[in-house]
Amino acid sequence: MEMHKATPEERKLFYREEWNKREIPDFILHTLSLREFGFDLDGTGPSHRYNQFITVEQLGDFLRDRAPYSAFASVALYERPSAREGWLKSELALDIDAKDLPLKACGCLPGNVCERCIDEARRIAVEFAETLAGDLDLRNIHFVYSGRGFHIRVTDEAVMGLEQNERGQIVEYLTGGLIPTDITMALGYSKVFRERVARTFSALDEEKLLKVRGMRKPLVQRLMMEKERALGAIRKGTLDELSSFKGMGEKTFRQLLEFLARTNLGFTDGKVTIDTKRILRLPSSLHSGVCMKCTLVRDIERFRLDDAIPKFVREAEGK
């Protein structure tokens, strides 16, 4: 997948010919005038803040006129968005950025993304959304392909009034970022934790495992050789089976779990979730850094990167 920066001409072309207001999701469109809009006009950062648009036509005029490098809208709704005052409520947002995944099997360089790690980010987004809908029983969960990963944006009224602390705890729950009191329960957080730990553990190689405090080489080699057995034990919650690996004392096991929990926390940027005034890339806009469209994903299971390639890129590639 080739990604390049959009030129100012390409941006103009995109907003003049291709940008379509119908691609703005309803959950944003219906609250458009209550959101703060931010723009990065020239690629130096989103410093053009405190914008309010009463109608989508006004927003369209702005985009066509300025062809910004990036466009953002707040997760928060305000009484006075142009002053960022009178906070009413905020979506619950999660940012799963493929370039920042703590473990990448694809081997692409830090800060880079490839189709494989974007798909990995997609799978993580699916897992998080399943827990949001299952354990937390939330509705109105939307996926947005951001250009380098995925945003989950929840507009369920039940969570829109939550503050930073509660949102931070949701991140811990979804990621499996804390060791539960009892790891063996069939349902609840215990199950979420085991699933997340299993995913992380399966992506670890010998080199990374050796970085865990207390893990000696013979134990690491044994775990690698019998990875499937170890994974099975984690998934089933029969953790005493893990202790049967020679060299895995109680302390080492705890240190391994702590390492895995810490790694789990890195699969989403918690700062985004707890920030109730965050601006997120506007679905329908162009991610000029990678020449991809930030787009609402209606069916996350069937998402294809091709759906987010702008027409001007496709035409240039002769597709």
Partner: protein
């Protein structure tokens, strides 16, 4: 038989309690026994927490509760050690009363109090549990029970106490948001099924007691802000507050008590209005912003007076350098940043700043001067909004507080809890 008035004993913020407060004598005419009870309740034994079901005992209980809260509000600040101490003691008291009433067969009364604050459903089934269509696996059911028993250090299962450790209820997790916010409950420690948190009776007592405890803190905050506006509190309140404060342990042993906000100022915790004032303001706003708002804010935030009514800086600091080297330079720099600089055309305002900290009209204050003038309180948000609206750019937290000082101490408390403290 317990009358419904007894609900006030389980929830001092219930209508039944409010009626008692409305009919109470003025604070200055409060009977001595209620004053004593207000002070002593912080250190009650379990036996003393129990209130007899008669109107006089209920009345005495409620009035002493409010006297304790108002007393502490008059000598400390939100999120202070005093506030935490009485918040904790209130939680323990309510929890014990729930336990005691259940033991005495008054389950219905307890549940009535709980249901006013928490929407809950009962699980179906006896030794297993169904929650709508979801069946809680039998193994999980017993593991939840065993976890509860372990928390209380109980090895041998006794039929008489067992029922309180069995999962019996479920509440929507989002209804527990106030407890999650104050970290009284952790989401990852809840057993969540389809949006429901499964609870034992013991959990229910804990959660309910914590809800009352959080409300107690909020109530003290509101009283504190009222006092900030009206000036010096009554002698009775000050005396009760000072006596409660004197009960604080000298050693800061627990993590929660290690949240002393006095000490180094943390500008990242300042409310938006103070950040603006620190950057200097324009003509027409300068005097009010620097002298009336920033000066009391920085002095109260830095010194964090608690234990007695804050009338003199010298009662809380032993070294004038706190004022001269830490507080005053920040104020002077902010005055210099004003447009035009405040002291350029109003040099007398320098002395006025120390005057507002209680040192009289001095430019080189000494600790001995403390008390020569009044140590001005920080105006409440609504006054700042009216007198200096350009200073007021409220953020999310501003909506929940009524005084900039509350904002600062709350932010400090959150930072400390999040481990960002020093």
């Amino acid at each position: 038989m317990f009358a419904s008035e007894y609900l006030a004993v389980l929830d001092p913020f219930a209508e039944e309690a409010k009626k008692i407060v409305e009919a109470s004598p003025p604070v200055d005419a409060m009977p001595q026994e209620i004053i004593e009870r207000a002070t002593n309740r912080v250190n009650w034994s379990n036996k003393e927490m129990v209130v007899e079901p008669n109107p006089e005992s209920i009345r005495s209980e409620i009035l002493s509760f409010y006297l304790m809260c108002q007393g502490v509000a008059s000598v400390s600040y939100p999120y202070s050690r005093e506030v935490r101490m009485i918040s904790d003691s209130t939680r323990n008291t309510i929890r014990y009363r729930m336990y005691d009433l259940f033991k005495r067969g008054q389950e219905e009364l307890c549940m009535k109090a709980v249901r006013r604050s928490i929407k809950l459903v009962e699980l179906e089934g006896e030794n297993e549990a169904k929650l709508g269509e979801v069946e809680i696996p039998r193994e999980d059911f017993y593991k939840l029970r065993d976890q509860e028993l372990e928390k209380d250090g109980i090895d041998v299962v006794d039929d008489r106490v067992l029922h309180q450790y069995l999962p019996r209820y479920a509440v929507r997790w989002v209804d527990l948001a106030p407890l999650l916010r104050h970290r009284r409950v952790e989401l990852t420690k809840l057993y969540l099924v389809k949006g429901w948190a499964v609870l034992t009776l013991q959990d229910l007592w804990n959660f309910y007691a914590n809800i009352v405890s959080v409300r107690t803190e909020e109530y003290i905050q509101s009283v504190n802000e009222r006092i900030s506006e009206s000036g010096v509190p009554s002698n009775v309140l000050a005396r009760v507050g000072e006596r409660v404060s004197a009960l604080l342990p000298k050693e800061l042993t627990t993590e929660r008590f290690a949240m002393m906000p006095s000490g180094k100022l943390r500008p990242e915790c300042f409310p938006p209005c103070m950040k603006l004032a620190l950057n200097g303001v324009g003509i027409g706003l300068r005097n009010y912003a620097i002298v009336m708002v920033l000066t009391p804010f920085l002095s109260y935030a830095r010194i964090a007076p608690s234990g007695k009514v804050a009338t003199r800086v010298a009662d809380f600091v032993k070294d004038i350098s706190v004022v001269q080297d830490e507080i005053a330079p920040l104020i002077f720099e902010a005055a210099e940043r004003c447009n035009p600089p405040l002291f350029k055309d109003h040099p007398q305002e320098k002395a006025n700043i120390f005057y507002h900290m209680g040192f009289g009209m001095a430019t080189e204050p000494r600790l001995g001067d403390s008390g020569k003038s009044k140590w001005y309180m920080i105006p409440n948000c609504k006054n700042i909004q009216m007198s200096a609206s350009p200073l007021c750019h409220p953020d999310e937290l501003c909506r929940k507080i009524g005084n900039p000082r509350t904002y600062y101490f709350r932010k400090m408390s959150e930072h400390m809890k999040a481990g960002a403290g020093e």
